[in-house]
Symmetry: C2
Subunit: 364 residues, 2 copies
C-alpha cells in the first residue's frame, strides 16, 4: 500500500469517520461521476430500478456476504439513517412494551442505544464501565436467558475500547459494529442482528449496513411504519424506496477492494501490525499516556493524552504541519485519537510514530 497522495499533497488521514478510503475507490468513484461504466451517464443520474444500479447493489450484498462468511439465514441490507437510526429501529422491531432486552453500557454509543430502547420496552443494563469513563470493557457479566436479546457495541470509537470476543449466551445477540466491522475475523453468524454505519470500514457516509437473521423478525405486536420494518427491506432487496445510490456504490467499490486484497484475514494482519506499532510507541514514550490498557485496547481507535496542556497543543500543531488530520480527540473527551481503519496505510502510522519519537526526544 502506498500513502495517500491527492494531487501534490501528502495527507495522513486519522479521521474517526467519515474516514480514509482506498485511493482506487476515490479514483473509480470520481470517474463514475463523469461516466459510469461507459454509459455516458453519471452514477448520480442513473435510475435505481435500472439494471445498471441493480448490479451495483447485487455485488455489494454478495461481496459483504462473502467477506463475512454469512450463512443463508442472514440477510444483508443497505439502509438509510445511520447507526443512530438503528438505536431505535432495533427495539422497535424486536422488543414489545413489556419485554426486556439486556444492554451492555460500555461507551457513548451504547448509552445512546439504551436511551432509545427504553422508549419501546424494558432495558436491563447487565454491566457498565461508566465508573471509569468507559476506559475498559466490563468483564464477568451475566446475560439473563429470559431477555429478548443482548445488545452491545463491539468497538467504542470515542473511548478507544474494543470487545473482540463474542459473549457466550443463548439469547439473540445484537451488535453495533460501526467502527470495527470487517477489521478482524469473527463468527458473524452467531449474531441475530449486526448494524454499522458505512463511514469507517465499509464506504462513505450516507448508508448503513444491517445484517439480520430472519427468524427474529415479525414477533412484536406494535404496528411498524413500512420504512422501519426490516422485513419490507428484505422483501424489496434494500430498494423499498430510492436507496442512497452513490453511497451504496462506494460501499461496493470498497468491499471489492477488500476482497481483492485477501478479505478480512489479510486486513486483520495489517491492522494488527499498525495497532501494535502505535501502542508500542505510546507505551515506550512516557510523555504520552494511552487511556486504555491491555486487551481492551481498540485496534481501530487509539486514544491517548499528553498531560501537559501546552505540550498537547504543540504536538497537535506538529501533526498538522506534517499533514496529519483527524488526530484531535472527540470533542467530549479531548486529548488525541488516531483512527486506524482498514484503508489507512501502514506509512501513515509509521509517520505518526516517528513524529512521536522526535517529539518525546525534544521534550524528554
Amino acid at each position: 500500500m502506498s500513502a495517500i497522495y491527492h494531487n501534490t499533497k501528502l495527507v495522513h488521514n486519522f479521521n474517526s469517520g467519515p474516514s480514509v478510503l482506498p485511493r482506487e475507490v476515490f479514483e473509480e468513484a470520481s470517474r463514475a461521476i463523469m461516466d459510469f461504466n461507459n454509459t455516458g451517464l453519471s452514477i448520480l443520474e442513473i435510475g435505481h430500478r435500472s439494471s445498471l444500479f441493480q448490479e451495483v447493489m447485487d455485488e455489494a450484498i454478495a461481496t459483504l456476504k462473502e467477506l463475512m462468511v454469512l450463512d443463508s439465514e442472514h440477510e444483508v441490507l443497505f439502509l438509510h439513517g445511520g447507526a443512530s437510526t438503528q438505536f431505535f429501529q432495533v427495539p422497535m422491531n424486536l422488543l414489545d412494551d413489556k419485554e426486556t432486552a439486556a444492554y451492555l453500557d460500555c461507551g457513548t454509543w451504547g448509552t445512546k442505544a439504551i436511551k432509545e430502547a427504553k422508549i419501546f420496552g424494558q432495558v436491563e443494563v447487565v454491566a457498565s464501565s461508566k465508573d471509569k469513563d468507559y476506559t475498559y470493557i466490563p468483564k464477568g457479566f451475566i446475560i439473563p436467558e429470559t431477555v429478548k436479546y443482548f445488545h452491545y457495541t463491539t468497538n467504542n470509537t470515542i473511548e478507544g475500547t474494543q470487545m473482540r470476543d463474542i459473549p457466550d449466551s443463548g439469547v439473540p445477540l445484537v451488535a453495533d459494529m460501526s467502527s470495527d466491522i470487517l477489521s478482524h475475523t469473527m463468527d458473524f453468524n452467531r449474531f441475530s442482528l449486526i448494524y454499522a454505519g458505512a463511514q469507517k470500514n465499509i464506504g462513505a457516509a450516507g448508508v448503513n449496513v444491517v445484517v439480520v437473521k430472519k427468524d427474529i423478525l415479525g414477533k412484536v405486536s406494535r404496528r411498524l411504519p413500512s420504512m422501519m420494518d426490516y422485513r419490507n427491506h428484505i422483501e424489496n432487496g434494500s430498494m423499498l424506496n430510492t436507496p442512497p445510490v452513490f453511497a451504496v456504490y462506494v460501499c461496493m467499490l470498497t468491499l471489492r477492494w477488500l476482497k481483492k486484497l485477501g478479505g478480512i484475514p489479510e486486513i486483520e494482519e495489517k491492522n494488527n501490525v499498525k495497532a501494535k506499532l502505535l501502542y508500542d510507541t505510546l507505551d515506550s514514550l512516557p510523555i504520552f499516556r494511552p487511556k486504555v490498557s491491555g486487551n481492551d485496547r481498540s485496534r481501530m481507535n487509539v486514544v491517548f493524552v499528553i498531560d501537559e496542556p501546552e505540550l498537547e497543543k504543540e504536538f497537535l500543531s506538529l501533526c498538522k504541519e506534517n499533514g496529519m488530520v483527524g488526530i484531535k480527540g472527540h470533542r467530549s473527551t479531548g486529548g488525541f485519537r488516531a483512527s486506524l481503519y482498514n484503508a489507512l496505510p501502514q506509512e501513515s502510522v509509521t509517520a505518526l510514530t516517528e513524529l512521536m519519537k522526535d517529539f518525546a526526544q525534544k521534550h524528554g
Copy 2:
C-alpha cells in the same frame, strides 16, 4: 444550456429520479472526490464536524432558504431516509392517536403517506382521484378547520399530475414536494412542513430536505425516538448524527447552480417552455395520447401512451437508439414518461419532440 456530453456520448436523460443534474455539478463533484477545495482530502473522507463540511452544510441551507424566500420561522433540514421516511415521521411528530389529519388522495405517493399516517392517528381523506387512476387533481374539496393538518402531494411523479395552487385553508399545510420543489415560484411560507427527496431538483439520491415551521412541533404526547424528532435536528443543525456528507455536498452544488442561473423565477420560465413544447407536440400528433389534460398536467413528468403495443415497443427502441434514457413509464402504469426536471436541457426536449414528429409521420 448545452446538452449533456459525457466523454463521447450524447445522452438525453429523462429519468424520473435519480435524474439528470447540471454538468458543472458532475464536474465539481468528480474533482472533489479526488481533492476537495485543495485540501488534499477527498470529500468522502472529511470529518462532518470539520469546518470544511460545516461550510458546505451552511451554504446548502442558506441557499435553499434564499431560493425559497423562507421567513425566519421556517427551518431547513437535510435528513436521512428519503420522502418515504417522512410519510411516517410527519404524523409521528404532528398527530396524536385520537387526533385527525386531512389527506388528499391523488396518487401513488399520497396513498402511501395515508397508510403510514393511519398508524399514528385518524385520517380523513378529503378527496380522491382514484376513480380515474389518479389522472386528475380533485377540485372543490373542503378541508375541515378542525383537523391537525392537511397533507397533499404537489406533483405526482408516476401519474403526471401537478397541483400548483396552494389550497386555501386555515389549518397547517404539509406537502410532499419531492418531484416539483424549486421548479416554479410559490409562497413556501404558507406551508408548515414541506418535504422532498433530493434526487429530482435538489441533488442526488441519499438525502431528504425538510422545511418546517417551528410552531407546529412538540405538541404530541408520544415519546419520539431521538432521530425522529425534528426538534433535535433543528437544534443540531442537521448534524444530530453523521449526515450523508457527499449527498449534502451535491445538493449544495446544485443549489449554487440554480442560484447563479437566476433562481426559481428563471428556471420556471425554462421549465414552462420545455413542458409547453412537449405537450403541444403530443397534442398535435394523434398517435400519442397524453394521459392527463388541462391544468392538471405536470410540467415535471409528462405521461403518455401509444395505444398500439407494437408501436409502443418501436418508439421505445427508437428512443434508445437516439440516446434517450428513462423514457419508459413507471412499472405500475406502463406507457411512457418524460421527466423534465430543472437540469434537463431544452435540447433534450427538442430532440424528443423531433423524434416524435418523425415517428408520427412514418406511421401517420
